[in-house]
């Protein structure tokens, strides 16, 4: 028992859970913090995404498109992306005017856009083998 006290042990448990959650989601944030936005713009330019940007629908659309192609090109979608997406959505319902959450969602879509182009490149290589 922490310091011989049950209350202290429960307090440590609660703080440790909070820190663990923060660390896990910060790890996710760090992965997308330097994402290349041009790949998302390219999806829009090529008409794959609608002209008018929508945070949630864009992510869902790219996710669905990758899911359609992924098995054929041996691409495994990272499971934390979906979890992080739902967490951001939940956080956005609590703080509807948080621009930081919108920015994070946009980065998440851009991160997925990168995967989409990776999948397309692999598909192209399968269809048109150079050898």
């Amino acid at each position: 028992m922490v310091g011989g006290s049950l209350i202290l042990s429960v307090a440590v448990l609660v703080v440790a859970f909070a820190v663990l959650s923060y660390s896990v989601f910060s790890f996710a944030h760090v992965r997308i913090s330097d994402v290349d936005m041009t790949e998302l713009d390219r999806l829009r330019r090529e008409g794959i995404l609608p002209d008018k940007p929508r945070l949630v629908e864009d992510f869902d659309l790219i996710h669905a498109k990758i899911a359609h192609v992924a098995p054929a090109v041996y691409l495994r979608q990272e499971f934390w992306l979906r979890l992080y997406f739902h967490l951001l959505r939940a956080a956005r319902t609590v703080r509807p005017n948080a621009a930081g959450l919108d920015r994070e969602l946009l980065r998440l879509s851009a991160y997925q856009a990168h995967h989409y182009w990776v999948a397309m490149k692999r598909l192209d290589a399968l269809r048109n083998p150079s050898l």
């Binding site: 011989g4 049950l6 448990l13 820190v19 913090s33 949630v56 621009a99």
Partner: protein
């Protein structure tokens, strides 16, 4: 193959992968301390397991080896974290004078407090109780230190993606360890399953994340202008939810 041997092998493999990752070219000099950390972790794992095989699970010798080995890793991890703090802020305009002295004072204070708590609550000091108390306290301290460092690095936009990932991995390692020890304290009837299943899994997760952070190439740091390009365009938020 027994369960303990399988767990030991997996943990050793994770340590070995992380140790090998510290030999990668172009690794930041501050992260080289991790090489010693994982060398110590590997050596400790080998020694503890050899004691287990030679003396058995219920012997004093194994208890001494287990607590000394584990404690050495936790304390050295705390020192590595202090070194990472120093190096991370060395790259920024923030100066942290007396950090090493502060870390040594905190370490000494915590060790004395742990000994005092054990002595007062049990009327004496035993390796098991003192080792367990120290491990628990250092997990909590390491967790707090890591999270303060992460928040500080984010707030001050300290450069170094790999640094941030490594520190976050330490935060995951220490906070999951603190959860395991506090769960064992709150629910003493679950001590055995926690120590047999949860502690190895949390250690593996932490070590795995550190190894991953070291293996994954670090992308080039972006300029302020490039970072601004990731801002949400005007009008985007209308009707988005």
């Amino acid at each position: 193959m027994s369960f303990s041997l399988a767990v030991w092998l997996v943990v050793c493999l994770a340590d070995l992968a992380a140790f090998a990752a510290t030999f990668r070219r172009g690794l930041d000099r501050g992260l080289l301390w991790l090489r010693w950390y994982f060398a110590l972790a590997l050596a400790s794992n080998v020694v503890v397991h050899s004691f287990l095989l030679k003396f058995g699970y219920t012997t004093k010798q194994y208890a001494y080896a287990y607590y000394l080995g584990d404690l050495a890793i936790v304390i050295f991890g705390f020192m590595v974290l202090a070194r990472l703090v120093e190096l991370a802020f060395e790259k920024s305009s923030v100066k942290l004078p007396g950090l090493r002295l502060g870390a040594i004072l905190v370490f000494t204070g915590l060790a004395v407090c742990s000994a005092a708590v054990v002595y007062m609550s049990r009327g004496g000091l035993t390796t098991f109780s003192f080792g367990s108390e120290m491990e628990q306290n250092f997990s909590f301290l390491g967790m707090l230190m890591a999270i303060i460092l992460v928040v500080g690095m984010n707030a001050l936009a300290v450069p170094g993606l790999r640094f941030r990932r490594v520190v976050l991995s330490f935060s995951v390692l220490y906070s999951s360890g603190a959860i395991a020890y506090s769960l064992a304290a709150v629910m003493p009837h679950l001590v055995d399953p926690i120590m047999i299943f949860i502690v190895p899994v949390t250690s593996l997760a932490g070590i795995g994340l550190i190894a991953y952070s070291l293996w994954v190439p670090q992308p080039a740091e972006k300029t302020v202008k490039e970072r601004k390009s990731a801002m949400v365009p005007d009008g985007l938020r209308e009707g988005a939810w």
